[in-house]
Symmetry: C2
Subunit: 375 residues, 2 copies
């Protein structure tokens, strides 16, 4: 029987190489989790997601509770069987999407009542309901139910919001049904205010979680302020637990956060960009819709091993985008997830070899060079 | 050096088992060619298309000449390299799509001038231009340029249209640049009138082609009249050349045509249906959008080996369709192409073993039973 466990294998400055053990398998960290919002990493077969090196995906409680609904997923064998992803799954708590997607919602001290963005039906989330839904989904990592503090927020607003989230974190811990191999993560809030972040981290440590997430960032504060917040926050987190920066980010955000001791990431950017013709390469983003690619026989990225780069020219990818062919999003999403997984693999190797600063400097140099124009 | 050749390996009544040799490989017949309209079999990676057993795909001259244009495809190494399909490719002549997709067109004895449905730009197709475009695309099988006779048409209209197509067929033969492994097919026209079909077949045989297509069917005349037309037409075609029924069809259409001596097929039905939630099974079509599937843990088709049937429940496929997830069309298209290739494989085995009539009867019996409802 697998116990939920995080092994810290090596450090390089604040950067950490580790391994997370869950009921459905191990995850080498630093790790990037592709987002499988509604039970699918958009435009990808799950075996293709796994082929990129991804070991864990994220599912959205908000989306899945509305459609197909958690009880149905449970009857069909849980989210792993439902979406044909046998590996580890993390689900968020639903709180963030209620704020970002539902137009009509009513907060109270106990939870939030909201209208579905799909059909207007009324639903409710509380810490207890969120724990129950994530248990029905069979998530290896369950996230505590919290309120995502808006940005900007005054120190007073941020404090009120954070303290509500800490009371909900205690109720989440209370409601979470412990099972071997399954973990519950608390979420540090407190906006961009170091003393609030410290208070939040202390409150969560008092409750005790299997992992600690940093929430409420990547909401408009900018990379510099985000990394500054991590500078003061990650030292407050227990070294023997995984640390997850929610909803982040661009490759340079991820590198900056890994240098500050973050182990886990998720973001819709590689998948969403794959559906809007934006490709991530080591030399920055490339917009395949641009007419400069229409006669370019070169692959998107020379030394990438993904199917998009192995089998096709930029001219073809451009043609797919212009023709609105489904294969365009399929190939670009695959490339982007591959690029993110290659980045994480590179970071892990660099930490293991004590050269993560040099790795970060080289990544920044390449990105600054920009895309190579065709002759 | 491969010479373009058709080997007739066995017959079972009028049904034929054969093998077509082309510059880019062999095609076992009877064969169904998935349609790769704009240089992609929609929602499929080419290696997935090949994994279903498909050996040859179809490209549309009309679409490819407008975008990305034939000269560009040629500069990029031809259609095989462009779309990453190393196997045989057949291109149509463009005539049919000019009639069905372009709103403004002007026919004359020499060819047709038309407006692009994409940007309104003016283009021209003649037998000579169509041969040139198909050569630039590097099609293993080039189709003669013809006019698709509308349905219904009076005998007089059908005769005038057919005779124009026969003059264009002669010009196509004249303009076609013979190369080892590459073939040119003529197209029998004449609507639903046996004497016109006979006149057309005789005219094409006089010109001499590497294969003979039957065109102008599946345009609204119904299965019975289509098969009756084949009854009188295929006996007029040379036994040592492949026979291709253009744009057909449903599984029962294909079985009926194979029983009448047809060797090759193409149709958008499996791919288009895959994007509109319609799945082909041996027990008829199944609409995955229907709410009856929402709790059904069974696979779409029990003994199908495609990824959609191996890895997912009907409930999940239904969820993907309802959520408008790209993976829905991806999986259903894959299943439908697999179902069509399995049908062709079954037909080939049955012809080889002299039991094609029994195969056809069993297929009709299963389809009449209809889909198995969940308990």
């Amino acid at each position: 029987m697998t116990h939920f466990r995080y092994d810290l294998l090596a450090t390089d400055g604040a950067a950490r190489l580790g391994r997370l053990h869950t009921a459905h398998g191990v995850v080498d960290t630093p790790a990037f989790m592709p987002v499988g919002t509604a039970g699918t990493v958009k435009a990808m077969l799950p075996e293709s997601v796994a082929a990129t090196g991804a070991q864990m995906v994220l599912g959205n409680t908000y989306h899945l509770m509305l459609r197909p609904n958690a009880e149905r997923v449970a009857r069909l064998g849980g989210l792993h069987a439902f979406m044909n992803w046998p590996g580890p799954i993390l689900t968020d708590s639903g709180g963030f999407q209620v704020m970002s997607l539902s137009k009509l919602r009513k907060m109270d001290a106990d939870g939030v009542t909201f209208q579905s963005h799909i059909d207007g039906s009324s639903h409710r989330l509380t810490p207890e309901i969120s724990m129950d839904i994530q248990r029905l989904l069979d998530a290896d990592v369950t996230m505590a139910f919290d309120e995502c503090t808006p940005f900007p927020a005054t120190p007073e607003q941020a404090a009120i919001s954070m303290r509500l989230s800490m009371r909900w974190a205690a109720r989440s811990k209370q409601a979470f049904v412990a099972r071997p191999g399954y973990g519950l993560f608390g979420i540090v809030q407190g906006g961009v205010y170091p003393e609030l972040r410290a208070e939040s981290a202390a409150a969560l440590k008092d409750i005790g979680f299997d992992g600690y997430a940093v929430g409420g960032l990547a909401v408009g504060e900018g990379q510099e302020m985000m990394l500054a917040t991590l500078d003061t926050t990650t030292p407050q987190l227990p070294a023997d637990r995984p640390r997850y920066l929610m909803g982040v980010g661009r490759p340079s955000d991820i590198i900056g956060a890994v240098l500050r001791g973050i182990d886990m990431f998720d973001c819709v950017m590689p998948t969403r960009s794959g559906r809007t013709a934006q490709a991530f390469t080591r030399r920055g983003t490339v917009n395949l819709r641009n007419a400069r690619h229409q006669d370019d026989p070169r692959p998107l990225e020379e030394d990438c091993g993904c199917p998009a780069c192995r089998g096709y020219s930029r001219a073809y990818l451009h043609h797919l985008i212009r023709s609105e062919e489904i294969l365009g999003p399929m190939l670009l999403t695959w490339h982007n997830i591959q690029a993110y997984q290659d980045l994480m693999r590179g970071l892990r190797a660099a930490i293991a070899e004590g050269r993560v600063q040099a790795f970060a400097a080289e990544a920044a140099r390449l990105e600054a060079l920009g895309d190579v124009e065709a002759m």
